[in-house]
Symmetry: C2
Subunit: 334 residues, 2 copies
DNA sequence: CTGAAAGCGCTAACAC
DNA sequence: GTGTTAGCGCTTTCAG
């Protein structure tokens, strides 16, 4: 193995000069720098990560905790992960993958052994057991998602409240006056990440603001439940012409159910959703939707972490603005 | 930060004794071990990963390269990844996540800097550009999937040939005499991972062995193509009663197409597939299928790597036997 | 702008 | 069964 002393000798300089040439932490004469670079290339030198970590107390590795819980949409998680890795690499960092399974112990382990410099945690519960630990850890962290109390933490996610509002604004702009939100399963509104509640808040607020008649319908993620909600909606609110869906698995079944009941989308009923683009695109009728900007969130999380690692302060709350993509499932009220 | 000398002093032993107590690399008296463990707990000691890596030339980290290519089924990739992480942890290793994007440079980087001890590479092309590098690297690696020439490498995957055979045996056992394989898009048979070819080989061999009349139909992954293949099959092979599908996206569309042409599944036509269970389960008619045993493959890959890291020899080829799950889409020939 | 040298915290001979 | 100690390869004062 070729080491820094080999390079130094070969270039006729001291090891520290090579080190500084590599890190840029002090000025090196053009001439010296070129000689060093040539030697590195010629000898095929790569600094030893462990030695570096030991001497500098920086591993240049980030931990990424990915969720395993049922009900999460896997492709989106993958998008987050890829985006985090890509962004991390741009900051000369690597990414260590942790599963939710290891829980607090895993976080503590990689932090305490100095395996990683910082952590990114996805998929937070409103009252996550890991929060106290994350607050206490000597290493910075960024959370993707929001717990009940973001105090003392750094969180980033799509602004789900604004997403709910934006869906309503879109429908209102098309002239719809009676709308419904078909939401996540009831239990999601109780525990979990709270994003479901925020969608409801945004939906309701925007509906009120625009003078729309609105109603909210939590719904299990089964076709049968979707059918039931569709029937109920038509029965109770015959003037309904707009629906917002925030429940990935039943997007298609719900549309099927409405069509089975004689409503054509979008002729009789406009449908918007908060869901991954791929799902919205692939539906029988491509659905006007707001996607989770996984790439932006991932990159943003890394940027925040880098700022903190650099000693800077990061905002506790970072909300990304939703963007609505108009597709074939919405049109002006008949 | 509390270090090994602190623990040693606190426990009244030498640093090396603490080290050996931790690694188990030499016998420690019961009494001493207890004192050390108590001190570790009391002081909250965690060994510094970098220092460890430097002194032992072992980082206890594995690299996992995940694919990004279009056409791969994301949930399966995630299953692999989770399984690798879980298995690695059981061997006291962590997992560094690399994306395909970095290519050879990424592999070289993490290997040369001694960031990782070994590598797992997913989603190999038949003639993968990374193969020479993997063969030359001073660190062991395991490939999930098979290149054209596995010589000098260690590969593991589902036995796709046996999977093709098993589907046919199942249909033959139900009395079907005329069967077809609806396969992956044509281009997949040319480049890519070669698993598609192996399914065809198994399918054809088993059909011949059982005296069945068989035909193979590559198919684009679009509903339109699926419809076309269905029509063609009915036209050219009116006696057809069994179909094997090896093309995830069109599994449902193909069944729809057959039903649209007046065939009921499974009454008139038995359908089996090679695809993730979730897909097979969720179909309109739950499909008898062979899944990719992602958890087993991931765990197997880690086991092979550990064997190699331990200085042992690992077989070049490890094929996992397919398991067929009977669901509602197959029944005896009418 | 460059060098010398003292560690970083741990492991693994080597000694007993 | 335990202790002593020499590194592992790099970074970073301190000195010039």
């Amino acid at each position: 193995m070729v080491k820094i002393t080999d390079v130094a000798r070969h270039a006729g300089v001291s090891p520290s000069t090579v080190s500084y040439a590599l890190s840029g932490k002090r000025p090196i004469s053009e001439e010296t720098r070129r000689r060093i670079e040539a030697s590195i290339l010629q000898l095929g030198y790569s600094p030893h990560a462990g030695a570096r970590a030991l001497a500098s107390s920086r591993s240049n590795v980030l931990a990424l905790v990915i969720p395993l819980r049922a009900g999460i949409h896997v492709p989106v998680v993958m998008q987050f992960a890829v985006s985090v890795v890509t962004s991390a690499r741009q900051h000369d960092h690597d990414v260590l993958l942790l599963t939710q399974e290891e829980g607090e112990a895993g976080l503590r382990r990689v932090a305490d052994t100095a395996l990683v410099d910082a952590l990114i945690v996805m998929d937070l519960q409103l009252h996550d057991a890991r929060l106290p630990l994350l607050r206490a850890l000597d290493r910075p962290s960024v959370l993707i998602g929001f717990p009940q109390e973001p105090e003392g933490l750094t969180c980033i996610d799509l602004d789900f409240r604004a997403a709910g509002e934006l869906c309503v604004e879109h429908l209102a702009g098309l002239g719809h006056r009676v709308i419904g939100l078909v939401g996540s399963p009831p239990e999601v509104y109780v525990r979990e990440t709270g994003f479901a509640q925020r969608v409801v808040q945004g939906f309701t607020a925007a509906a009120d603001r625009n003078g729309l008649s609105s109603s909210v319908h939590p719904c299990e993620s089964t076709p049968a439940a979707a059918r039931q909600v569709a029937e109920q909606l038509l029965r109770e609110r015959p003037a309904l012409t707009g629906v917002v869906v925030h429940n990935e698995p039943i997007l298609e079944p719900l549309i099927d159910a409405f069509e089975g009941l004689g409503l054509r989308v979008p002729r009789d009923l406009s449908v918007t959703a908060i869901c991954p683009d791929e799902l919205a695109e692939r539906a029988r009728v491509p659905v006007t939707s707001i996607a989770i900007p996984a790439a932006e969130v991932g990159a943003g999380a890394v940027d925040l972490l880098m700022k903190k690692l650099g000693g800077g302060a990061a905002p506790e709350v970072t909300l990304l603005s939703p963007r609505l993509t108009v597709r074939a499932s919405t049109m002006p009220r008949p």
